[in-house]
């Protein structure tokens, strides 16, 4: 619940906007009113926040009414970790439309050890209950943080893989809204592909 300490050692070039240095701290305010600090570099991993900073809306702190404190602190943790890993701001995804297909575009200059460290960090970040995972996805989507969104969605996919229909419903607490006949029809539709 504590605010993530700022990573003051920023190796990136100065931000252009208003002549502010990129190690400026940005205040992010969760939906329940908690304030968190992050370096501008880390905060800009969110394309949404990046645009707000560039539009000059960030001076009094950025309210994020969609993101509760518990999730925001995890998001900031992710951004701090990955921003520190990227060499310069050019590695950051500027816009989702321009995003590289490569998932690891933030890790291009990381050593093998750092990559392993990052991988295990990522794995532990999303090793959470399904409700938290859901909230992370919503936050990453709202904040436009492609890496985090991909990470969380991949985790959900991993949780679905090799499970039966009933197991998936149980894990994600999904109600079956098919009638027996409807479900049977859907099952039959593609059963040919995996029946011997």
């Amino acid at each position: 619940m504590a605010a993530t300490p700022a990573d003051a050692s920023s190796s990136s070039s100065e931000a252009v906007v208003g002549g502010e240095k990129s190690n400026k701290m940005i205040t992010l305010i969760s939906s329940d009113g908690e304030s968190f600090e992050a370096t501008e570099e880390a905060a800009k991993m969110s394309v949404t926040i990046k645009h707000m900073i560039e539009d000059g809306c960030a001076d009094d702190g950025i309210p994020l009414p969609n993101v509760p404190a518990k999730i925001l602190s995890m998001v900031i943790e992710y951004c701090n970790k990955h921003a520190a890993d990227a060499d310069d701001t050019n590695k950051h995804v500027a816009d989702p439309a321009d995003a590289d297909e490569d998932d690891d575009n933030n890790n291009n200059n990381a050593s093998a050890g750092e990559k392993e460290d990052l991988k295990s960090f990522d794995a532990s970040l999303v090793a959470v209950d399904q409700a938290t995972l859901f909230d992370i996805i919503l936050a990453a989507n709202f904040l436009s943080i492609k890496g985090l969104l991909d990470l969380a969605c991949q985790k959900v996919a991993d949780d679905i893989k090799d499970k039966s229909v009933e197991e998936v419903r149980e894990i994600f607490k999904i109600e079956n809204d098919f009638t027996k006949e409807e479900e049977e029809a859907v099952r039959k539709e593609n059963a040919w592909a995996f029946n011997e």
């Binding site: 919503l138 996919a157 809204d177």
Partner: protein, 184 residues
């Protein structure tokens, strides 16, 4: 704490669900996800879950079942065609590689006539005709097909043996990924 453990996964943003389903193997997206609930079924039927599908392993296990290979390709093309995504490269790929393909119908697709004409000679069992009217009839057939959302049935794959414009190669990117995986 008052924080509910419940989240409405049925109602997760379709964009996010698409990202989830795209990472799933073929068996899950065909036989598990569509049955979980109706909203997931709708999302997984959308084209964005099908842009990178690896059927290499699946097809290798069905070498003796060309009818199933054709049916799978039909399914894939149909999924991608639903929202009018361009599928010229995929169509020419099918023509290049589905030697046993007899018929293929793709309603509401945006396949260009040039591609149909280029691919047709490659389908050995397709009807051939040297008539100049043949390409037009192929086009007409495609347009009629576009008006109806038919079941799995097929219509003849092209009818122009005479026309031979340069065959179109699949564009680089995702389609080539699929082709290379099938070629091994």
């Amino acid at each position: 704490m008052g924080e509910s453990e419940y989240r409405c996964w049925e109602e997760l943003l379709p964009d996010a669900l698409e990202l989830v389903f795209r990472n799933l193997p073929l068996q899950e997206v065909l036989t598990v996800v569509p049955r979980v609930c109706k909203s997931w079924g709708r999302v997984v039927a959308g084209p964005y879950c099908w842009q990178e599908i690896d059927i290499e392993e699946w097809s290798q296990q069905r070498q003796s079942r060309p009818d199933q290979l054709v049916r799978m390709l039909d399914l894939l093309v149909r999924r991608i065609s639903v929202s009018g995504l361009p599928c010229d490269p995929l169509f020419s790929f099918i023509g290049d590689h589905a030697r046993a393909l007899r018929t293929l119908e793709i309603p509401r697709s945006e396949i260009s006539d040039a591609v149909v004409e280029a691919v047709a000679p490659g389908c050995p069992t397709s009807r051939s005709s040297t008539s100049a009217a043949a390409p037009r009839s192929a086009r007409a057939r495609w347009r009629r097909s576009a008006a109806t959302a038919g079941p799995w049935s097929s219509s003849t794959c092209g009818a122009a043996a005479g026309a031979a414009p340069a065959a179109q190669r699949p564009r680089p990117g995702r389609r080539r990924l699929l082709r290379e995986q099938l070629l091994g």
